[in-house]
Subunit: 209 residues, 2 copies
Amino acid sequence: MALENPADRGTAGRGTADPEVAQVPRRLLEAATRLFAQEGFDRTPVRRIVEEAGVTKGALYHYFDSKDDLLHEIYARVLRLQTENLERIAATGAPVEQRLRAAAADVVVTSIANLDDSKIFFRSMHQLGEEKQKEVRAERRRYHERFRALIEEGQRGGVLRDGVRADLVVDFYFGSVHHLGTWYREGGPLAAETVAEHFADLLMTSLRP
Amino acid sequence: MALENPADRGTAGRGTADPEVAQVPRRLLEAATRLFAQEGFDRTPVRRIVEEAGVTKGALYHYFDSKDDLLHEIYARVLRLQTENLERIAATGAPVEQRLRAAAADVVVTSIANLDDSKIFFRSMHQLGEEKQKEVRAERRRYHERFRALIEEGQRGGVLRDGVRADLVVDFYFGSVHHLGTWYREGGPLAAETVAEHFADLLMTSLRP
DNA sequence: CTGTCCATACCGACCAGTCGGGATGACGAG
DNA sequence: CTCGTCATCCCGACTGGTCGGTATGGACAG
């Protein structure tokens, strides 16, 4: 699914009376994201998605190959965003510890900003088809390895403690990050930045030499 | 569902030819645990569970009220185990930091020892009925609060760093623990105790004053 | 005869995906 | 400018199959 051409307007005939020039694929993706996060992938009938998006099944299967395809698109979007952010931060000329801290904080902020995607990610990945699941795993592994490289760079440079396995630290930290969706509440007392600072602080403290 | 009476033998007529005196409810629970962990709750038909357990639907619905009920039993078992362990460790007369470290390591070891239950726990909780979900949440909250109390005790006593929110630390640490199921592999190079030590070490280091 | 334990046949609900076709706009020929 | 053609976009009824749960009754123990 490409949908690289945003040059269609849709809403032909007496379809939805929305004054917005809403692209149908985008609306479908948004509805699917919300519903998958709330009810879970398997609990969300395609019927509900198209209702919420204000279209019908014909539209959905015109733009997407399957229900799985929708899920895969959602994953791809998150992974793209996080990878871009990490690359950007890692390419800075700042000292390693600052880059690591920034990356650790950023992944918390973006995870909270896209909390629905995060929930879906860790709850529904296993119900993807085998090949697509492999694809997503590979992408995430690359991300983790990039993050691990930062830690190892810091360890080699002596600014981070050496007696701890970098791969375990990565799994440790991203476990915490992925679980934000289970306890973080939008209207709660904690701002995303507060959580991000605390998380990054915990990570950096556990790594100081 | 109580099943407190293990005094039934089952296997009447020409049922399974197992020489074991296998209790039917236990076999059902084991099969369900394995399948829920492998395929997910919604992807596991009741038919598969009873096949795997060597009985039929009649048996399942004789002992359990519903498919949800099975899931709930699995949760209750994990929670009971972890709570008991925590209480036991917390009641020791050892210094706080030692108790906290022991508790942190123990929850990793038992999570890995019951990895299927862990997977189910964080992947399938949301597909429980509303009331039962509330019940499980309350139990887990009590567990977390018990753990948090240990941290706060250490902070008051001055043996743990004070500038960090204990509740966030708990969510941070248990995020990591709950995600063990996504990356830890039974036959892998890491022993459960190794992971436990590293995790506990990371936690304690991030809390040292 | 009664209660426990369990097998089997069965039911209504629901679901992902398909299919034939209708509407609309772009475009080229005349 | 008009008409025919074609591709895109989308509708909604329909299908084949699966699912959780139930109804009925048989076997056996006390």
